[in-house]
């Protein structure tokens, strides 16, 4: 079945050197025999044309209908009824399978879309129809072009990209600078909240005085009697803070990670060697945080962990996703954010070559580029690398080098470092691949962070205002002149991947999304009993920050 979906039509056109309007593609796809139509259209095309437009197809079809013209009844790309006005998420697996295109409304027995609500923390993001108003198929066809043709309405800005800015040379001093920068910048968010003193000053204060301190967590240990001793460090030295086991803050001790910045306040013991904690503060996202939203109805698809080159890469699901992006239903999706792991990579684990579909790393990126080509050309793409990608593993990870950028040339995607913040029509999205989530999940109690609810682990990072606080453990750090891993500004959306689980929710009005993956369960995941959420694309309405999940597997 060649050329059965729009995505394939697009790639066929690209391979012959043409760009195509989305509508044109839809029309070709809607014919009885798209392949023949395509050939005919190309033959008919004026010599100077570089873009296949809907007029070209129309004129051809009018003159010599290749099909019977029953394009509205063709299920591909234009489902006859997806129940989009029912308030439920639309059922659309993008495959044109009989279930979703049967034409008799949402199938109650098999809702293929995930329930989007229960995993949320503070607020339940309501799912909403992807296209407001009437039945999609009529709108899609009747309104024609679909995606906003006016590029002036779009805006995309990048902040915090350190690609090409890696100035660290791996010296001791570089490491010290990073941690000092962290204390300085995150500490500034806490200094107003406590009456802080340097560690050395506290050491010389008389017993019984009240003191406050802002510092990095240097050590956490329990005492023989079950209390907690937390050593805070600032630029002058360290001071131990005792959290009594029966105090309200004792629970928070479980959440502490080494090297995060916190503030404590309390009373010095009689011998001044230790202070009893009365209150503890995190940099956190203010409860009053109001996210910025877009001025128009526009959507972004947030995905990650494509893993092209893996034997488990879900080619079919990706095709459906790409096809769906060509449908009217997806007409408002104008941005695609990919949070790392474009390809499966080489040498990520021992004997990986035996499990690779594409063994050559450059060919993996070429294959990924082919996948990008399937995405409609008028969607803006932003990508960051992940731990499977061919860049350094230590964070921050600079964006791909020139050679790889050359390979991933389709779409002129924006390639930035991990992490980076991208602002889409005013909505800031912090993109981070998410390696530290493993550590947060391992260190924190299950009710606070687990693989089943990855967004809850992300809340912890938001609270700490740092994407990977703990040094010396799982996460690797490359020292740079400043700490690029800090969340200096509160993002409107926090987007991660890596753990191959889908989950989202809001924390103090910040939308945290961990996108799933495009790789079915690997042998390793099987051995540790991880069920990946594969083949989903969370779609965010940038005007409301609501999330809809599209399922393609």
């Amino acid at each position: 079945m060649p050329l059965e979906g729009p995505a394939r039509i697009v790639s066929e056109l690209t391979s012959r050197g043409y760009n195509a309007e989305r509508e044109a593609v839809t029309r070709i796809a809607a014919t009885e025999n798209p392949a023949t139509t395509l050939e005919a259209v190309l033959e008919d095309l004026p010599d100077d044309a570089l873009v296949v437009r809907s007029e070209h197809v129309d004129s051809l079809l009018e003159r010599a209908p290749v099909s019977d013209g029953a394009r509205t009844t063709d299920p591909i790309g234009s489902p006859t009824d997806d129940g989009s006005d029912s308030g439920e998420s639309p059922i659309d697996d993008g495959s044109g399978s009989s279930e979703s295109s049967a034409g008799d409304g949402p199938d109650p027995t098999e809702p293929s879309t995930r329930d989007t609500s229960p995993s949320t923390g503070d607020e339940r993001p309501t799912s909403r129809p992807t296209a407001a108003g009437g039945p999609v198929e009529t709108r899609g066809v009747q309104e024609g072009s679909g995606r906003s043709a006016d590029p002036l309405e779009r805006s995309l800005e990048i902040a915090g990209d350190m690609t090409g800015e890696s100035t660290g040379t791996g010296e001791y001093g570089d490491f010290v600078s990073v941690f000092r920068d962290r204390l300085e910048r995150l500490g500034s968010k806490l200094r107003g909240r406590v009456n802080h003193r340097p560690a050395t000053a506290i050491q010389s204060m008389p017993g019984g005085s009240e003191a406050g301190m802002v510092g990095l967590v240097n050590d956490v240990r329990s005492t023989a009697s079950g209390h907690w001793l937390i050593e805070l460090e600032d630029a002058t030295g360290t001071f131990p803070w005792l959290v009594m086991k029966d105090r309200e803050y004792a629970d928070l001790v479980d959440e502490l990670l080494y090297d995060e910045v916190v503030a404590m306040e309390g009373t010095l013991a009689d011998d001044s060697g230790i202070a009893f904690v009365d209150s503890m503060y995190f940099p956190d996202v203010p409860r009053t945080h109001e996210p910025t939203t877009a001025d128009r109805h526009v959507q972004a698809a947030l995905i990650s962990d494509v893993h092209v080159g893996s034997q488990e890469f879900m080619s079919e699901a990706w095709n459906r996703f790409a096809d769906w992006l060509h449908t009217p239903e997806a007409q408002h999706v104008e941005y695609l954010l990919i949070a790392g792991d474009m390809v499966e990579g080489v040498g990520v684990y021992p004997n990986q070559d035996e499990e690779l579909d594409v063994v050559d790393i450059y060919e993996q990126y070429e294959a990924f580029n082919e996948r990008l080509k399937q995405v409609p050309g008028d969607i803006e793409i932003v990508m960051i690398p992940g731990n499977h990608d061919a860049v350094r593993l230590a964070e921050p990870q600079p964006g791909f080098d020139e050679e790889l950028r050359g390979i991933m040339s389709a779409h002129d995607a924006r390639i930035v470092s991990n992490p980076s913040t991208v602002t889409l029509e005013g909505v800031s999205v912090l993109m981070y691949h998410g390696v530290s989530l493993d550590e947060v999940i391992a260190e924190l109690p299950e009710e606070k962070a687990s693989y089943d609810d990855p967004h809850r682990a992300m809340y912890q990072l938001l609270k700490k205002r740092h994407v990977a606080p703990q040094f010396g453990g799982h996460t690797r750090l490359a020292p740079e002149e400043k700490d690029y891993l800090i969340m200096e500004e509160v993002p409107d959306i926090f987007h991660t991947g890596h753990v191959h689980k889908l989950g989202f929710g809001k924390y103090h009005n910040v939308l945290a999304i961990n996108s799933g993956c495009w790789q079915s369960q690997t042998d390793f995941q099987k051995s540790v009993n991880i069920q990946p959420d594969a083949g989903f694309a969370p779609i965010v309405d940038l005007d409301t920050l609501d999330v809809t999940v599209q399922k393609f597997s």
């Binding site: 890696s166 040379t169 230590a394």
Partner: protein, 1206 residues
């Protein structure tokens, strides 16, 4: 036992008694922890069991039971004795079970290994959920040394005793069952198991075991689920438990079943289900994932590689090749042959006199031509029949065949010649033969692989064909092993025996097509005769012909510039390719007076055409049709030609050989604590002058040390003799809470009755090291300049922290010997076996041998020549030169010790090393607790310890690269004390808690019984190998056959003699080459030369298993590293924000630097490039290199090329 054997043992024991007397007298006088020798003598296994366990009456009972039943049954009978209180003095039921379990393990390990004391921590009673009690056996890591059978039986004995004393069975909770499964998986991942049961198998066992298996945490990794269980104290993997469950119960189920079925009291019906694999029903939900793992498991056994599928198309019989030995290849340790590769080692069956018991024989010329990487004792990892071999030099097998830079292709059978031509070697076409004895196949239960056609086989074929071999042997003009060509041809044709092996080439390594080309080339060749004899066959130079000649390893000369290839001794070769030489005499030549100069020319006529070959011959092949010309050869040759080398054995270097003194790090002269006062060197002299501050008295240091009390005058001291009245002192135990003095009870426990806490004699006290040091020097009459440095220890690790008298250290330092943790001086050597020796190779004379009781040679003739072979007595050992020298130093130390410290006469008084001959030593292997008495018989320049295989087996070693130590007898007797042993797990291992004075062949590791002891393998054996028969089907005498008979100590015959047991290089190149880079370059260089080695694969593996893990590991370590203060050494998890050390304000720096991260980067890239590695490998390196650049280079200030500066 023969009278002469009895004499031998009596003599050893008399010698031992003499030494014992001296040692006892010394001990009475000195200030040792005990006033007597602390190594009890065990005459037999029963004694050893009792001594190791320290339970009275066990030995007697064991002896009673031994004659009546098997050892396993005896263990069960003893369990009854324990249960009923007839043996052992245990009051609690748990104690009875513990005694029975320990005794069982000791009995099954012949009282040699430390497993019964170190491997079982305790047995305790816990409660089931229904309130009944069950038995919990608490295993520890050292249970490993007991082996699977003893481990499994320990559980059975525990259950049996449990039933007898009336304790309920264990009912595992479901989370405990799950925990077992997860834990075994974790342990396998972390440490590795020989056999890993599948999860459902583990759960099945755990659910049904009537005893709870528990144990100490061993690994660092924790389980992720099923944590914090009430009845399991740890979240880490419990290594001992995992071993017992997996390698014991799961693997040895059939063995235990034999005993459970015989016992009424206990019932393990589930064992049958376990054996049958019927545990799936209970865990039906588990997915079927059997195939992969099951294959893995059966491969591990080394067996099962002989898959002869009847449906296979006809072809030559070949052993299945295996890649396993190539795993984890290390840089600097070369591959000598890829699996079953042409040009690799050719399997030859036989046992040389220095061979057997997990060793492989290699020609010394091969050792040199492999660039000296192989030396006597070097370990190799091998494709078959086992996993590893120790290498021994054997010069009665074929050496390697090489092509020299001048085009000569020669077989090198002389080590001297090998050294001379080594620099000219362009390619090693064939590595020569690899001698493996029949017993290896028995031991590994490996089907016999097809034998090479060799002299030992041919001579029997010849005899079977009707030749009078005896007459031929007696004919002085005939060299049966290396006959001339005419005679070989004559035998082949007149007797209808196969062609002699020396003229049998490796036809199976060329294809039928190549064979035809060769025949054509020969037919078109001409014979040049410069003088008498057969002349030289000259062939036109041609690449195919050249390649084929190199493949079948015919000696020849390649002269490409002259367009010719010359073969001497060509007749058998020409006949084999079906070409008949015809002499054409020129007309009237006889009358010609110049006929002497113009000889008749010889023409070669090809007697067959391609059509003559049968279908079978044309398609005969192993990997593909027609790749093996042997059938074609047999159709065209006028005689039978056997396959010369059907089995090639792949192998690579494992560990290098070892012959080194054992020094702790840093070396220790005296087990006297000096804390940090002696600096990092632990220098006692420095400590004696050390003062923390100006106000402190120099040399006074606070130490943790054992407190002793003089019963006579009440003085408190840490010495074993009262400094005031010179009476012996005793440990002074006090309760840490109430300070009451506590006397140890009979069991040695010291518990305060009031406070119910354990009392201790360890205290922190100030010791004047200066005074101690000066006193010690004075007492032995030595001055400080007698030695360079005297090193002590930082602290004592023993329970009572009894220090050793410094005097001993002074004398050790004087003679440059150092002490092991138990007070003894040791020397480590790789173990190798030898069963017959010559005086010449041992650097002794006949007189010395005769003095040791050697009267006749192996044929029973009286000893008159130095090069006569004598059969080695079972406890006699050969020391390496280094060991001899070290023993001399130790003997001098002992003499001084006796004279200057104990005030006795010197014992050894050795002038030169010849006098060491006849002295007794202890042999002692790690993981064991019993020393074996040995006697020095001579010396070798090889860096190994040669001894009788039974001696090694008595120490529980085989010779596949294992190493262990020797100590001088008197050193052990005088200086060993249990009081010095560390009190942590494993502290009692590798310590001579008991000694065996004589070896009983029935009580040694039974692996040695599988060694063959025949002088010839029968013809039927060779024929059986061609069918890959089971080794058990062949009748060759092995050690087991003489067990328990009068001949058990004698008649260790061999099939191959060797000129000297030390040939080839003395040390492996691995040890003589300097840096890792040099080693790796030599390794890759060698891989290029060897025809049997694929150098790209070697390079790939070196990168994959060595460089990449190093690079990746260091890079990971870099980005999460600790930092350390350069001034005070304080470590910080993370860089301090102050930048400086928080402790001392000193400079802090990284622990992992750029240099250590990328040290192999460029080399790895270069190697990948030069050896044409896969793109995958190259790309991994590229990605890593970019990562390194990204981390270590400033994007804005990149290191640029030199042109930027021009």
């Amino acid at each position: 036992m023969r009278e002469e054997d009895e004499r031998y043992f009596r003599r050893l024991e008399a010698q031992l008694d003499t030494a014992f007397d001296v040692a006892e007298r010394a001990k009475e006088r000195g200030g040792d922890p005990e006033p007597e020798v602390e190594i009890p003598v065990a005459k037999d296994m029963a004694d050893r069991v009792e001594n190791i366990l320290g339970i009275d009456d066990v030995a007697e009972r064991v002896r009673e039971l031994e004659g009546e039943m098997s050892r396993e049954e005896a263990a069960l009978a003893l369990a009854e004795d324990f249960a009923e209180g007839r043996v052992g003095d245990y009051e609690t039921r748990a104690g009875k079970v513990e005694g029975a379990v320990r005794t069982a393990v000791a009995l099954l390990t012949e009282g040699v290994v430390a497993a019964p004391i170190e491997g079982i921590d305790r047995v305790e009673l816990l409660e089931n959920d229904d309130g009944t009690e069950f038995v919990n056996v608490y295993y520890a890591g050292p249970i490993r040394s007991a082996g699977g059978t003893a481990q499994a039986l320990s559980v059975l004995v525990a259950d049996y005793t449990r039933a007898l004393v009336g304790i309920e069975q264990y009912n595992a909770r479901s989370e405990e069952v799950e925990r077992y499964a997860e834990e075994i998986g974790l342990y396998d991942k972390e440490t590795g198991l020989q056999y890993t049961p599948k999860d459902k198998e583990t759960k099945f066992i755990a659910k049904h075991l009537p005893i709870m298996l528990d144990g100490e945490a061993t690994g660092d990794e924790e389980v992720s689920g099923f944590r914090d269980l009430e009845r399991v104290d740890t979240n880490n993997a419990r290594g001992g438990m995992c071993l017992v469950l997996a390698e014991g119960i799961a693997l040895k189920a059939p063995k235990i079943q034999r005993y459970t079925s015989a016992l009424d009291e206990i019932d393990w019906p589930w064992l049958q289900d376990l054996i049958d694999g019927n545990y799936a029903d209970e865990a039906a939900d588990a997915p079927e994932d059997e195939d992969g793992e099951a294959d893995e498991a059966s491969d591990d056994g080394g067996g099962g590689e002989n898959e002869t599928e009847p449906a296979e198309p006809e072809g030559p019989v070949r052993a299945k090749s295996s890649q396993k030995f190539l795993r984890d290849l290390i840089a600097g340790r070369p591959v000598f042959s890829h699996p079953s590769a042409a040009g690799g080692f050719r399997l030859r069956y036989g046992r040389a006199r220095n061979h057997g018991f997990a060793t492989g024989g290699v020609h010394p010329a091969t050792m040199h031509l492999l660039d000296d990487f192989l030396a006597t004792g070097t370990q190799i990892k091998t494709e078959r029949p086992g996993k590893a071999h120790g290498i021994v030099p054997v010069d009665t097998i074929d050496g390697p065949t090489v092509k020299l830079a001048n085009g000569d292709v020669r077989r090198i059978d002389d080590p001297q010649e090998a050294l001379e031509i080594r620099n000219g070697v362009e390619r090693i076409l064939d590595a020569g033969e690899y001698l493996v004895n029949y017993g290896e196949f028995v031991e590994n239960n490996h089907p016999l692989s097809p034998a090479s056609y060799v002299f030992e086989w041919w001579i029997q074929d010849l005899e079977a064909a009707g030749a009078d071999v005896q007459a031929l042997e007696d004919d002085p003009r005939i060299d049966l092993e290396n006959p001339d060509a005419d005679r070989a041809l004559e035998w082949a044709t007149s007797y209808d025996a196969p062609l002699h092996p020396q003229y049998t080439y490796l036809w199976h390594d060329v294809s039928v097509a190549e064979f035809r080309t060769l025949a054509d080339a020969v037919a078109n060749g001409r014979v040049e005769r410069a003088d008498g004899g057969d002349g030289t066959l000259v062939l036109a130079h041609d690449e195919t012909v050249r390649g084929a000649l190199e493949a079948i390893i015919v000696e020849h000369r390649q002269r490409p510039d002259d367009g010719r290839i010359e073969i001497d001794d060509w007749k058998p070769f020409a006949h084999t390719v079906g070409c008949e030489p015809r002499e054409t005499v020129a007309d009237g030549a006889a009358a010609d007076p110049d006929a002497r100069d113009r000889r008749p020319t010889v023409e070669l006529e090809r007697t067959w055409s391609d059509d003559d070959l049968s279908e079978r011959a044309r398609t005969w092949g192993h990997e593909e049709e027609g790749d093996n010309a042997i059938e074609a050869v047999n159709e065209v040759a006028p005689f039978t030609v056997r396959e010369r080398a059907p089995t090639r054995i792949g192998n690579r270097m494992g560990r290098p050989e070892k012959s080194e003194r054992r020094d702790l790090s840093p070396p220790v002269h005296t087990l006297f604590p000096i804390g940090e006062a002696g600096g990092p060197q632990r220098n006692v002299a420095d400590a004696a002058k050390h003062a923390e501050t100006m106000s402190d008295t120099p040399g006074v240091v606070e130490l943790e040390i054992g407190r002793q009390r003089c019963e006579n005058c009440g003085t408190e001291t840490f010495k074993n003799r009262c400094p005031d009245c010179n009476e012996r002192t005793t440990p002074d135990y006090r309760c840490p809470d109430c300070e009451t003095q506590i006397e140890p009870d009979e069991a040695g426990r010291v518990e305060c009755g009031h406070c119910e806490v354990e009392a201790t004699c360890v205290e922190r006290r100030e010791v004047d090291l200066n005074e101690q040091y000066r006193d010690a020097l004075k007492s032995v009459g030595e001055r400080e300049n007698a030695f360079e440095i005297l090193k002590g220890v930082k602290g004592l690790t023993s329970t009572t922290k009894v220090p050793e008298p410094i005097e001993k250290g002074v004398l050790r330092a004087k003679h440059d010997v150092s002490s092991f943790k138990d007070g003894t001086v040791r020397y480590d050597m790789t173990d190798l076996p030898v069963t017959s020796v010559r005086a010449t190779e041992l650097d002794v004379d006949i007189g010395q041998l005769q003095a040791l009781g050697y009267e006749t040679d192996i044929h029973g003739d009286p000893l008159v020549h130095e090069d006569q072979l004598v059969e080695l007595k079972v406890q006699d050992i050969v020391l390496s030169d280094g060991a001899a020298e070290h023993m001399m130093q130790t003997a001098d130390f002992i003499d001084d010790l006796l004279e200057q410290y104990y005030g006795l006469e010197p014992f050894y008084e050795l002038e030169d090393r010849q006098e060491l001959v006849g002295e007794l030593v202890f042999g002692m292997a790690p993981h064991t607790s019993a020393a074996t008495v040995g006697r020095v018989v001579g010396f070798t320049s090889a860096a190994v310890g040669y001894a009788h295989p039974y001696f090694h087996a008595a120490k529980r070693r085989n010779c596949d690269g294992d190493e262990d130590c020797v100590m001088l007898l008197m050193d052990g007797l005088l200086n060993f004390s249990e009081s010095f042993l560390p009190n942590q797990r494993g502290g009692k291992m590798d310590a001579p808690l008991v000694m065996s004075s004589r070896i009983d062949p029935s009580e040694i590791d039974d692996e040695a019984h599988n060694m063959d002891i025949a002088s010839q393998y029968p013809r039927e054996f060779y024929e059986a190998t061609l069918e890959q028969a089971d080794p058990g089907e062949v009748d060759i005498r092995i050690g087991e056959d003489t067990l328990g008979t009068d001949l058990e100590y004698t008649g260790f015959e061999h099939t191959h003699d060797v000129t000297d047991i030390a040939m080839g290089p003395d040390l492996s190149a691995y040890k003589t080459l300097g840096s890792m880079m040099e080693k790796m370059n030599a390794q890759l260089e060698l891989s290029r030369k060897l025809r049997a080695v694929d150098e790209t694969d070697v390079a790939e593996r070196v990168i994959e298993y060595h460089f990449l893990p190093d690079l990746i590991g260091n890079l990971r370590a870099f980005s999460r590293q600790e930092t350390r203060c350069l001034d005070c050494g304080e470590k910080f998890r993370r860089m301090p924000l102050t930048g400086d050390c928080r402790e001392c304000g000193g400079r802090v720096n990284l622990t992992v630097h750029q240099g250590s991260v990328n040290k192999y980067m460029q080399t790895a890239i270069q190697v990948a490039d030069e050896y044409d590695c896969r793109d995958y490998t190259k790309q991994r390196l590229e990605v890593l290199e970019k990562s390194l650049e990204s981390i270590f280079e400033n994007d804005k200030n990149k290191q640029s090329g030199i042109e930027d500066f021009m």
